[in-house]
Amino acid sequence: MVKRTADQWWRLLQSVPDPEIPVLNVVEMGIVREVIPDQSRVLIKITPTYMGCPAMDAISDDIQEKLREPAQQEGLSVDVELVYAPAWTTDWLTEGAQQKLEDYGIAPPGKTADKRTLQGEAPMVRCPRCKASNTEMVSLFGSTACKAHYRCNACSEPFDHFKCI
Protein backbone atom coordinates (compact mmCIF):
# COMPACT_ATOMS: atom_id res chain seq x y z
CA MET A 1 0.00 0.00 0.00
CA VAL A 2 1.38 3.37 -0.97
CA LYS A 3 1.60 5.76 1.93
CA ARG A 4 -0.25 9.04 1.62
CA THR A 5 1.88 12.16 1.61
CA ALA A 6 1.20 15.09 3.93
CA ASP A 7 -0.35 16.90 0.95
CA GLN A 8 -2.82 14.08 0.48
CA TRP A 9 -3.81 14.19 4.15
CA TRP A 10 -4.32 17.94 3.80
CA ARG A 11 -6.66 17.28 0.90
CA LEU A 12 -8.68 14.79 2.96
CA LEU A 13 -9.00 17.39 5.71
CA GLN A 14 -10.66 19.72 3.21
CA SER A 15 -13.73 17.51 3.45
CA VAL A 16 -14.17 18.30 7.17
CA PRO A 17 -16.55 21.27 7.49
CA ASP A 18 -16.35 23.83 10.29
CA PRO A 19 -19.27 22.92 12.59
CA GLU A 20 -20.37 26.53 13.07
CA ILE A 21 -19.71 27.85 9.57
CA PRO A 22 -20.30 24.73 7.47
CA VAL A 23 -19.68 26.62 4.23
CA LEU A 24 -15.97 26.57 5.12
CA ASN A 25 -13.81 23.56 5.86
CA VAL A 26 -11.27 23.38 8.66
CA VAL A 27 -8.37 24.03 6.26
CA GLU A 28 -9.98 27.15 4.81
CA MET A 29 -10.63 28.36 8.36
CA GLY A 30 -6.92 28.12 9.08
CA ILE A 31 -7.58 25.87 12.08
CA VAL A 32 -5.34 23.05 10.84
CA ARG A 33 -1.75 24.11 11.44
CA GLU A 34 0.34 21.01 10.76
CA VAL A 35 -0.08 17.53 9.36
CA ILE A 36 2.70 15.10 10.23
CA PRO A 37 2.40 11.50 9.04
CA ASP A 38 5.04 9.07 10.34
CA GLN A 39 5.50 5.30 10.72
CA SER A 40 2.79 4.75 13.32
CA ARG A 41 0.39 7.68 13.16
CA VAL A 42 -0.77 10.78 11.42
CA LEU A 43 -0.59 13.78 13.73
CA ILE A 44 -2.92 16.71 13.07
CA LYS A 45 -2.24 19.94 14.96
CA ILE A 46 -5.21 22.27 15.27
CA THR A 47 -5.53 25.66 16.94
CA PRO A 48 -8.64 27.33 18.38
CA THR A 49 -10.11 30.48 16.82
CA TYR A 50 -11.09 31.64 20.31
CA MET A 51 -9.89 30.23 23.65
CA GLY A 52 -13.41 29.25 24.63
CA CYS A 53 -14.44 28.02 21.20
CA PRO A 54 -16.90 25.25 22.08
CA ALA A 55 -16.48 23.69 18.63
CA MET A 56 -12.90 22.48 19.15
CA ASP A 57 -13.94 19.11 20.61
CA ALA A 58 -16.43 18.62 17.78
CA ILE A 59 -13.77 19.54 15.21
CA SER A 60 -11.33 17.10 16.76
CA ASP A 61 -13.97 14.32 16.66
CA ASP A 62 -14.91 15.15 13.07
CA ILE A 63 -11.27 14.94 11.98
CA GLN A 64 -10.87 11.59 13.76
CA GLU A 65 -14.00 10.31 12.08
CA LYS A 66 -12.97 11.42 8.60
CA LEU A 67 -9.39 10.16 8.77
CA ARG A 68 -9.83 6.97 10.78
CA GLU A 69 -10.54 4.66 7.88
CA PRO A 70 -7.91 5.96 5.46
CA ALA A 71 -5.41 5.86 8.34
CA GLN A 72 -6.33 2.28 9.22
CA GLN A 73 -5.67 1.25 5.64
CA GLU A 74 -2.08 2.29 6.23
CA GLY A 75 -1.98 0.82 9.73
CA LEU A 76 -1.80 4.29 11.28
CA SER A 77 -3.64 5.88 14.17
CA VAL A 78 -4.97 9.45 14.07
CA ASP A 79 -3.88 11.90 16.75
CA VAL A 80 -5.36 15.37 16.98
CA GLU A 81 -3.43 17.80 19.13
CA LEU A 82 -4.56 21.25 20.25
CA VAL A 83 -1.83 23.91 20.02
CA TYR A 84 -1.98 27.58 21.03
CA ALA A 85 1.11 28.94 19.32
CA PRO A 86 1.15 30.80 17.07
CA ALA A 87 -2.20 32.35 17.92
CA TRP A 88 -4.91 32.02 15.28
CA THR A 89 -5.67 35.12 13.27
CA THR A 90 -8.38 35.88 10.74
CA ASP A 91 -5.53 36.52 8.25
CA TRP A 92 -5.29 32.73 7.99
CA LEU A 93 -8.67 32.44 6.32
CA THR A 94 -7.84 31.49 2.74
CA GLU A 95 -8.64 33.91 -0.07
CA GLY A 96 -11.49 31.74 -1.30
CA ALA A 97 -12.85 31.59 2.24
CA GLN A 98 -13.45 35.35 2.32
CA GLN A 99 -15.67 35.12 -0.74
CA LYS A 100 -17.50 32.02 0.54
CA LEU A 101 -18.26 33.80 3.80
CA GLU A 102 -19.77 36.77 2.00
CA ASP A 103 -21.85 34.51 -0.24
CA TYR A 104 -23.05 32.71 2.90
CA GLY A 105 -24.23 36.02 4.40
CA ILE A 106 -21.34 36.76 6.77
CA ALA A 107 -19.30 39.90 6.13
CA PRO A 108 -15.66 38.70 6.04
CA PRO A 109 -13.01 40.17 8.36
CA GLY A 110 -10.60 42.90 7.32
CA LYS A 111 -6.85 42.35 7.52
CA THR A 112 -5.17 42.69 10.91
CA ALA A 113 -2.52 44.95 9.37
CA ASP A 114 -5.16 47.68 9.66
CA LYS A 115 -5.02 48.42 13.38
CA ARG A 116 -8.45 50.05 13.31
CA THR A 117 -9.98 46.75 12.23
CA LEU A 118 -8.15 44.99 15.04
CA GLN A 119 -9.71 47.32 17.60
CA GLY A 120 -13.12 46.38 16.28
CA GLU A 121 -13.40 49.75 14.56
CA ALA A 122 -13.81 48.32 11.11
CA PRO A 123 -13.60 51.29 8.73
CA MET A 124 -16.13 49.77 6.38
CA VAL A 125 -18.13 46.57 6.62
CA ARG A 126 -20.03 45.82 3.45
CA CYS A 127 -23.52 44.34 3.65
CA PRO A 128 -23.17 40.75 2.36
CA ARG A 129 -26.70 40.92 0.96
CA CYS A 130 -27.01 44.22 -0.98
CA LYS A 131 -23.28 45.20 -0.87
CA ALA A 132 -24.10 48.64 0.56
CA SER A 133 -21.38 50.19 2.71
CA ASN A 134 -23.87 52.12 4.82
CA THR A 135 -23.90 49.68 7.75
CA GLU A 136 -23.64 50.01 11.51
CA MET A 137 -22.50 47.80 14.33
CA VAL A 138 -25.27 46.71 16.69
CA SER A 139 -23.09 44.72 19.07
CA LEU A 140 -19.44 43.69 19.25
CA PHE A 141 -20.57 40.20 20.14
CA GLY A 142 -22.75 38.27 17.73
CA SER A 143 -24.12 34.75 17.44
CA THR A 144 -20.72 33.24 18.24
CA ALA A 145 -17.56 34.60 19.86
CA CYS A 146 -15.93 35.15 16.48
CA LYS A 147 -18.67 37.37 15.07
CA ALA A 148 -20.05 40.86 15.66
CA HIS A 149 -23.65 41.82 14.98
CA TYR A 150 -24.30 44.43 12.26
CA ARG A 151 -27.25 46.08 10.57
CA CYS A 152 -27.49 47.33 7.00
CA ASN A 153 -28.99 50.81 6.73
CA ALA A 154 -29.70 50.36 3.02
CA CYS A 155 -31.68 47.10 3.03
CA SER A 156 -32.42 47.00 6.79
CA GLU A 157 -31.21 43.41 7.11
CA PRO A 158 -29.21 42.32 10.14
CA PHE A 159 -26.06 40.32 9.45
CA ASP A 160 -22.97 38.82 11.10
CA HIS A 161 -19.51 40.23 10.63
CA PHE A 162 -16.54 37.92 11.18
CA LYS A 163 -14.44 39.90 13.66
CA CYS A 164 -10.87 40.62 12.84
CA ILE A 165 -8.48 39.13 15.38
Binding site: P48, A87, W88, V138
Partner: protein
Protein backbone atom coordinates in the same frame (compact mmCIF):
# COMPACT_ATOMS: atom_id res chain seq x y z
CA UNK B 1 3.05 24.92 46.30
CA UNK B 2 5.54 26.11 43.69
CA UNK B 3 5.48 29.84 42.80
CA UNK B 4 4.63 28.89 39.25
CA UNK B 5 1.68 26.66 40.19
CA UNK B 6 0.42 29.44 42.45
CA UNK B 7 0.76 32.03 39.69
CA UNK B 8 -1.04 29.91 37.08
CA UNK B 9 -3.85 29.20 39.56
CA UNK B 10 -4.37 32.94 39.99
CA UNK B 11 -4.63 33.48 36.26
CA UNK B 12 -6.93 30.51 35.84
CA UNK B 13 -9.15 31.20 38.85
CA UNK B 14 -9.73 34.87 37.98
CA UNK B 15 -10.96 33.84 34.54
CA UNK B 16 -12.95 30.87 35.84
CA UNK B 17 -14.88 32.79 38.49
CA UNK B 18 -15.61 35.72 36.18
CA UNK B 19 -16.67 33.35 33.42
CA UNK B 20 -19.01 31.47 35.74
CA UNK B 21 -20.53 34.74 36.99
CA UNK B 22 -21.12 36.03 33.46
CA UNK B 23 -22.77 32.72 32.62
CA UNK B 24 -25.54 33.55 35.07
CA UNK B 25 -26.57 36.38 32.72
CA UNK B 26 -27.65 33.88 30.08
CA UNK B 27 -31.29 34.66 29.42
CA UNK B 28 -31.24 37.61 31.84
CA UNK B 29 -29.48 40.35 29.87
CA UNK B 30 -31.22 43.74 29.69
CA UNK B 31 -31.38 43.46 25.89
CA UNK B 32 -30.71 40.55 23.59
CA UNK B 33 -27.40 41.96 22.30
CA UNK B 34 -26.05 42.35 25.83
CA UNK B 35 -27.29 38.94 26.86
CA UNK B 36 -25.23 37.53 24.00
CA UNK B 37 -22.26 39.79 24.64
CA UNK B 38 -21.97 38.90 28.34
CA UNK B 39 -22.26 35.19 27.71
CA UNK B 40 -19.74 35.39 24.87
CA UNK B 41 -17.29 37.17 27.15
CA UNK B 42 -18.02 34.55 29.80
CA UNK B 43 -17.19 31.84 27.30
CA UNK B 44 -13.89 33.52 26.46
CA UNK B 45 -13.07 33.65 30.18
CA UNK B 46 -13.84 29.96 30.64
CA UNK B 47 -11.67 29.16 27.63
CA UNK B 48 -8.79 31.20 29.03
CA UNK B 49 -9.25 29.58 32.41
CA UNK B 50 -9.12 26.14 30.82
CA UNK B 51 -5.73 26.88 29.27
CA UNK B 52 -4.20 28.31 32.47
CA UNK B 53 -5.59 25.61 34.78
CA UNK B 54 -4.56 22.85 32.43
CA UNK B 55 -1.05 24.25 32.54
CA UNK B 56 -1.25 24.61 36.33
CA UNK B 57 -2.22 20.95 36.63
CA UNK B 58 0.79 19.87 34.58
CA UNK B 59 3.04 22.14 36.65
CA UNK B 60 1.78 20.57 39.87
CA UNK B 61 2.40 17.07 38.54
CA UNK B 62 -0.25 15.35 40.68
CA UNK B 63 -2.40 14.30 37.75
CA UNK B 64 -5.03 17.00 38.24
CA UNK B 65 -6.43 18.37 34.99
CA UNK B 66 -8.36 21.62 34.54
CA UNK B 67 -11.71 20.00 35.38
CA UNK B 68 -10.31 18.45 38.54
CA UNK B 69 -8.95 21.83 39.61
CA UNK B 70 -12.16 23.67 38.78
CA UNK B 71 -14.63 21.27 40.32
CA UNK B 72 -12.80 19.52 43.13
CA UNK B 73 -11.10 22.27 45.05
CA UNK B 74 -12.68 23.90 48.10
CA UNK B 75 -13.13 27.61 48.64
CA UNK B 76 -9.87 28.19 50.56
CA UNK B 77 -7.92 26.61 47.68
CA UNK B 78 -9.17 29.16 45.15
CA UNK B 79 -6.80 32.00 44.30
CA UNK B 80 -9.09 34.40 42.41
CA UNK B 81 -9.00 38.10 43.25
CA UNK B 82 -11.86 39.26 45.48
CA UNK B 83 -13.02 41.60 42.70
CA UNK B 84 -14.01 38.66 40.51
CA UNK B 85 -16.33 37.19 43.15
CA UNK B 86 -18.28 40.41 43.80
CA UNK B 87 -21.95 39.70 43.06
CA UNK B 88 -23.38 40.28 39.59
CA UNK B 89 -25.87 42.80 41.03
CA UNK B 90 -27.54 44.83 38.31
CA UNK B 91 -26.18 45.28 34.78
CA UNK B 92 -24.11 48.32 35.85
CA UNK B 93 -22.48 46.35 38.69
CA UNK B 94 -21.48 43.59 36.29
CA UNK B 95 -20.18 46.10 33.74
CA UNK B 96 -18.14 48.02 36.33
CA UNK B 97 -16.65 44.78 37.69
CA UNK B 98 -15.80 43.66 34.17
CA UNK B 99 -14.29 47.03 33.27
CA UNK B 100 -12.05 47.10 36.36
CA UNK B 101 -10.89 43.60 35.46
CA UNK B 102 -10.47 44.19 31.71
CA UNK B 103 -8.41 47.32 32.40
CA UNK B 104 -6.01 44.95 34.22
CA UNK B 105 -6.30 41.98 31.84
CA UNK B 106 -5.17 43.96 28.80
CA UNK B 107 -1.76 45.01 30.22
CA UNK B 108 -1.47 41.58 31.91
CA UNK B 109 -1.85 39.63 28.69
CA UNK B 110 0.34 42.08 26.86
CA UNK B 111 3.14 41.59 29.41
CA UNK B 112 2.72 37.80 29.50
CA UNK B 113 2.88 37.56 25.73
CA UNK B 114 6.56 38.48 26.13
CA UNK B 115 7.11 35.62 28.60
CA UNK B 116 10.28 33.59 28.28
CA UNK B 117 8.08 30.49 28.47
CA UNK B 118 6.78 29.86 24.94
CA UNK B 119 3.58 28.19 26.17
CA UNK B 120 2.68 31.07 28.49
CA UNK B 121 3.48 33.56 25.73
CA UNK B 122 1.30 31.68 23.24
CA UNK B 123 -1.72 31.50 25.54
CA UNK B 124 -1.29 35.16 26.53
CA UNK B 125 -1.12 36.31 22.91
CA UNK B 126 -4.40 34.55 22.28
CA UNK B 127 -5.96 36.02 25.44
CA UNK B 128 -4.70 39.50 24.54
CA UNK B 129 -6.79 39.61 21.38
CA UNK B 130 -9.88 38.66 23.35
CA UNK B 131 -9.33 40.96 26.32
CA UNK B 132 -8.90 43.93 23.95
CA UNK B 133 -12.47 43.31 22.74
CA UNK B 134 -13.70 42.82 26.29
CA UNK B 135 -12.23 46.14 27.39
CA UNK B 136 -13.68 47.92 24.41
CA UNK B 137 -17.09 46.56 25.35
CA UNK B 138 -17.00 47.25 29.09
CA UNK B 139 -15.35 50.66 28.68
CA UNK B 140 -17.95 51.59 26.08
CA UNK B 141 -20.69 50.87 28.61
CA UNK B 142 -18.92 52.75 31.41
CA UNK B 143 -18.89 55.84 29.19
CA UNK B 144 -22.42 55.32 27.94
CA UNK B 145 -23.87 54.88 31.43
CA UNK B 146 -21.68 57.51 33.07
CA UNK B 147 -22.44 60.03 30.35
CA UNK B 148 -26.09 58.94 30.11
CA UNK B 149 -29.09 59.92 32.20
CA UNK B 150 -28.97 61.13 35.77
CA UNK B 151 -30.17 57.70 36.88
CA UNK B 152 -27.63 55.70 34.86
CA UNK B 153 -24.85 58.04 35.99
CA UNK B 154 -25.83 57.66 39.63
CA UNK B 155 -26.06 53.90 39.41
CA UNK B 156 -22.76 53.28 37.64
CA UNK B 157 -20.99 55.70 39.99
CA UNK B 158 -22.33 53.69 42.90
CA UNK B 159 -21.21 50.42 41.29
CA UNK B 160 -17.73 51.84 40.84
CA UNK B 161 -17.57 53.12 44.42
CA UNK B 162 -18.59 49.73 45.74
CA UNK B 163 -16.10 47.75 43.66
CA UNK B 164 -12.93 49.85 43.80
CA UNK B 165 -11.97 48.68 47.31
CA UNK B 166 -11.71 45.13 45.94
CA UNK B 167 -9.15 45.63 43.16
CA UNK B 168 -6.10 45.35 45.44
CA UNK B 169 -5.72 41.57 44.98
CA UNK B 170 -5.02 42.08 41.28
CA UNK B 171 -1.75 43.83 42.07
CA UNK B 172 -0.43 41.82 45.01
CA UNK B 173 3.32 41.43 44.81
CA UNK B 174 4.53 38.41 46.75
CA UNK B 175 6.96 35.51 46.34
CA UNK B 176 5.00 34.01 43.46
CA UNK B 177 4.64 37.27 41.58
CA UNK B 178 8.26 38.28 42.14
CA UNK B 179 9.61 34.88 41.13
CA UNK B 180 7.65 35.14 37.89
CA UNK B 181 9.34 38.44 37.15
CA UNK B 182 12.84 37.32 38.19
CA UNK B 183 12.71 34.11 36.19
CA UNK B 184 11.19 35.88 33.21
CA UNK B 185 8.23 33.57 32.60
CA UNK B 186 5.74 36.01 34.10
CA UNK B 187 5.35 39.55 35.28
CA UNK B 188 5.22 40.97 38.79
CA UNK B 189 1.52 41.83 38.94
CA UNK B 190 2.22 44.97 40.95
CA UNK B 191 3.95 46.48 37.92
CA UNK B 192 0.64 46.47 36.01
CA UNK B 193 -0.96 49.02 38.29
CA UNK B 194 0.14 52.20 36.46
CA UNK B 195 -1.35 50.94 33.18
CA UNK B 196 -4.54 49.95 34.98
CA UNK B 197 -4.67 53.41 36.57
CA UNK B 198 -4.32 55.12 33.23
CA UNK B 199 -7.07 52.92 31.69
CA UNK B 200 -9.29 53.84 34.61
CA UNK B 201 -8.51 57.56 34.51
CA UNK B 202 -9.19 57.88 30.80
CA UNK B 203 -12.57 56.14 31.15
CA UNK B 204 -13.48 58.30 34.15
CA UNK B 205 -12.65 61.47 32.24
CA UNK B 206 -14.69 60.45 29.23
CA UNK B 207 -17.67 59.25 31.24
CA UNK B 208 -17.79 62.13 33.72
CA UNK B 209 -17.50 59.69 36.61
CA UNK B 210 -15.54 60.49 39.71
CA UNK B 211 -12.99 58.53 41.60
CA UNK B 212 -14.29 58.06 45.14
CA UNK B 213 -12.09 58.90 48.10
CA UNK B 214 -9.66 56.09 48.80
CA UNK B 215 -11.05 53.48 51.16
CA UNK B 216 -9.08 50.65 52.78
CA UNK B 217 -8.37 47.89 50.29
CA UNK B 218 -9.96 44.50 50.84
CA UNK B 219 -7.35 41.81 50.25
CA UNK B 220 -7.24 38.05 50.67
CA UNK B 221 -8.27 36.26 47.46
CA UNK B 222 -4.69 35.36 46.54
CA UNK B 223 -4.29 33.71 49.94
CA UNK B 224 -7.51 31.76 49.69
CA UNK B 225 -9.43 34.07 52.03
CA UNK B 226 -12.71 34.69 50.28
CA UNK B 227 -16.09 36.29 50.81
CA UNK B 228 -19.33 34.41 51.32
CA UNK B 229 -20.32 35.10 47.71
CA UNK B 230 -17.74 32.62 46.44
CA UNK B 231 -19.22 29.74 48.44
CA UNK B 232 -22.63 30.19 46.77
CA UNK B 233 -20.97 30.35 43.38
CA UNK B 234 -18.85 27.23 43.96
CA UNK B 235 -21.83 25.30 45.30
CA UNK B 236 -23.72 25.97 42.08
CA UNK B 237 -20.72 25.37 39.82
CA UNK B 238 -19.45 22.20 41.51
CA UNK B 239 -22.57 20.33 42.56
CA UNK B 240 -23.00 18.22 39.43
CA UNK B 241 -19.42 16.96 38.96
CA UNK B 242 -19.16 16.32 42.71
CA UNK B 243 -22.40 14.36 42.81
CA UNK B 244 -21.33 12.27 39.82
CA UNK B 245 -17.52 12.42 39.95
CA UNK B 246 -16.88 9.95 37.15
CA UNK B 247 -19.70 11.08 34.87
CA UNK B 248 -18.91 11.77 31.23
CA UNK B 249 -21.00 14.02 29.03
Amino acid sequence: MSPRFEYLLRLGDDALILGQQLGFWTGHGPVLEEDIALTNIGLDQIGQSRAWLSMAGKEEGQGRDEDRLAFHRDQHEFRNALLTERPNGHFGDTIARQFLFDAYAVPLHDALSRSRDPEIAAIAKKCAKESAYHLKHSRGWMVRLGDGTEESHGKIQQSLNGLLPYVGDLFVSDASSQTAQEEGWGVDLATLRPQWESNLESALTESGLERPKATPEQLGGRLGRHTEQLSFLLAEMQVLPRTHPEAKW
